[in-house]
Amino acid sequence: MLKIRNLESGYGKLKVLKHISMHVDTGEIVTIIGANGAGKTTLLSTISGLVKVGSGEIVFNGKSIRGLSPSKIPALGCVMVPEGRQVFATMTVEENLILGGHVIQKKGKKVLAELLEHQYQLFPILKERRSQLAGTLSGGEQQMLAMGRALMSRPSLVMMDEPSTGLAPLIVREIFQIIERLREEGNTVLLVEQNAKAALSIADRGYVLETGKVIVQGPAEDLLANSAVQRAYLGREKFDE
């Protein structure tokens, strides 16, 4: 679905991503883990077209999306759930969701209504709060709204940037359960997370980013068992197992 080869990008003179290659297959949850400043968000922003590609290829569903404007990419089926939710605070929950469906608006009201209903099924709390202003929601609810808003465009790839940021552990668990459910429903997810343990436990595969480079990659269970990953990202030493 998504294939990236030798990608380099950054901000002005600052190169953040150094020669990254990775891919996401249909129906997978792939996670990018790494410390602060490793380049995880830059990677998602580059795929979304928000950060300019220096060199390398980004191929989405067989088509190069390098250099496309950020407004064109979601219409191709590649959407991002940004870090810190970024819902429209002064709009209602339902307005936020409908806005997410703008790329399929021409398919008619019926399709839109069905999609809306589907999001309410996935996130029942949003149905309860449908006419409430988004700004009044709790952090976890806002995260769900941001996810629901992204799903409203029926994307083929959902990219999530740090969905666990600033949420209580219980809510984080719920969010990750929902991500797993998204896969069960046939969605494909690229998940960027600092919470490596939680991300790897639901992902199929993972890439470990360090100062802009992929240093290890492989099946998530292998990464969980990889001692270098354990020491650096899972906070576990061999002897205290």
Binding site: S21, H23, V214, I215, Q217, A225, S227
Partner: protein, 432 residues
């Protein structure tokens, strides 16, 4: 039967993406973790974090058996010893031993790849598999063992040797699949005859043979005598052990586990890649090994790639069975001769047994190759005439197929040394 359909049948495009990602991280990791590779990369001024395509592989340095010896025992390990859960050592057929290590993940991968090979050969969890490879430092025994367990087969870890007992157990335990070297399979057939055991009365159905070069005619002989279907599988301890490649039920070339190994076939002299379909030396780069990754390891094994699709549905390309080794290749009167070629001729000739030995000498500055071959007992009671006719016939065949004249010496059955494991059938007496 395909063990991991989503991998073994993946599109070439997806495979190439996966190979590139894995090559990049392997090269980066050995560059940062293994001093040997770091200094080689630095010598070549190679930016090991900037591998951009699979074609970049040709810019990387080769790894030789000698490099493994020079770094004996742990010098080429890419992880600290505390992460290593298993150590094996190569058989040392051609010189001093070398040491390889495996992490937990490596063992898991290895088992899985061996399970692919077993499954490709037709073995399932319903089979009783007798592993007559040596258990120990040699990778054959343990490699097949873990793969067979993962597959769910019932494993008899009998190890090598004590042929009579092997056959007894094969009878009593109703073994359905036999794992050993092809020459040992033939030895078993001999011993069965001695013991009055009819191989066709056994439960045996599959044979998975490897660890030494063999020929198509040898396969026919084994299949007929033991009443089984035998498949070839390939591996070497420096790269992993068994599980690198294996034949599917088509019995026509070995599928290389290309998602874990990147292969090249090169001309051993010019070191350039050979043309597609040409025979050359197999060079392997590991893509997922954690503890003991190798870059462009020169196997000295001669093979050719068969990139055309296989009817079985696997997309991994095949390689032909090993046609010999660059280092047991004989150059006789300037002609390259592989023992397997001679073996193949002998198999086709009635009156000879599949046991032979080659003696190379130099007389009056001229190479002389003598083929000592076992002939059926009846020939030795018979007139000399028949013997001579047989010798002449073999000579003629050899001359036309090898392009050189050879001496033939018939010996009585069971007078030549038998090999349980790997051994060299060549005695080179030339002082060069």
């Amino acid at each position: 039967m395909i063990w991991e359909k989503n991998k073994e049948c993946m599109s070439r495009e997806d495979l190439e993406q996966l190979q590139l990602e894995r090559l990049q991280s392997t090269v980066y990791r050995v560059g940062t973790h293994v001093p040997f590779y770091r200094s080689k990369f630095n010598e070549q001024k190679l930016e090991y974090d900037r591998i951009s395509s699979l074609a970049d592989l040709s810019r990387l340095p080769f790894t030789l058996k000698q490099d493994l010896r020079d770094n004996y025992p742990y010098g080429l390990f890419a992880v600290p010893l505390r992460e290593v859960v298993r150590v094996h050592s190569s058989s040392g057929t051609t010189g001093s031993a070398t040491v390889v290590g495996y992490s937990k993940n490596d063992i898991k991968t290895w088992s899985n790849l061996v399970a692919r090979v077993l499954c490709g050969a037709g073995v399932t969890h319903d089979d009783v598999i007798q592993i007559a490879f040596g258990y120990g430092l040699f990778t054959g025994g343990f490699g097949l063992h873990y793969g067979a367990e993962l597959l769910g087969a019932s494993v008899i870890p009998i190890s090598a040797g004590n042929t009579k007992r092997q056959i007894q157990i094969m009878q009593d335990f109703k073994t359905t699949a036999l794992v050993c070297t092809p020459s040992y399979a033939l030895k078993m057939a001999d011993v069965m005859m001695d013991m009055g055991v009819n191989p066709h009365g056994l439960s045996l159905r599959y044979g998975l043979f490897g660890a030494e070069p063999w020929s198509e005619s040898m396969r026919r002989e084994i299949n007929e005598r033991l009443g089984i279907r035998s498949t070839d599988n390939y591996g070497l301890s420096e790269v992993m052990g068994p599980g690198v490649a294996g034949e599917c039920e088509e019995c026509n070339g070995l599928h290389i586990n290309e998602d874990h190994f990147l292969v090249e076939v090169i001309d051993p002299d010019s070191l350039e890649p050979v043309k597609p379909g040409e025979v050359g030396e197999l060079v392997i780069t590991t893509l997922t090994k954690e503890a003991f990754p190798v870059i462009r390891y020169r196997t000295r094994d001669l093979t050719m790639l068969m990139p055309e699709p296989c009817p079985c549905g696997r997309t991994f390309q095949r390689m032909s069975r090993i046609m010999g080794r660059t280092d047991d290749m004989l150059i006789i009167k300037g002609v390259n001769v592989f023992p397997t070629q001679i073996e193949s001729i002998l198999f086709d000739i009635e009156g000879t047994k599949p046991h032979y030995q080659l003696v190379v000498e130099r007389e009056n500055n001229e190479d002389k190759l003598t083929v000592m071959v076992e002939a059926v007992e009846s020939l030795f009671f018979d007139a000399m005439k028949k013997q001579r006719a047989l010798v002449d016939m073999i000579k003629k065949r050899m001359a036309s197929e090898l392009g050189i004249g050879v001496e033939i010496k018939l010996v009585e059955e069971r007078t030549l040394e038998r090999f349980n494991g790997k051994g060299s059938r060549v005695i080179d007496k030339r002082v060069l």
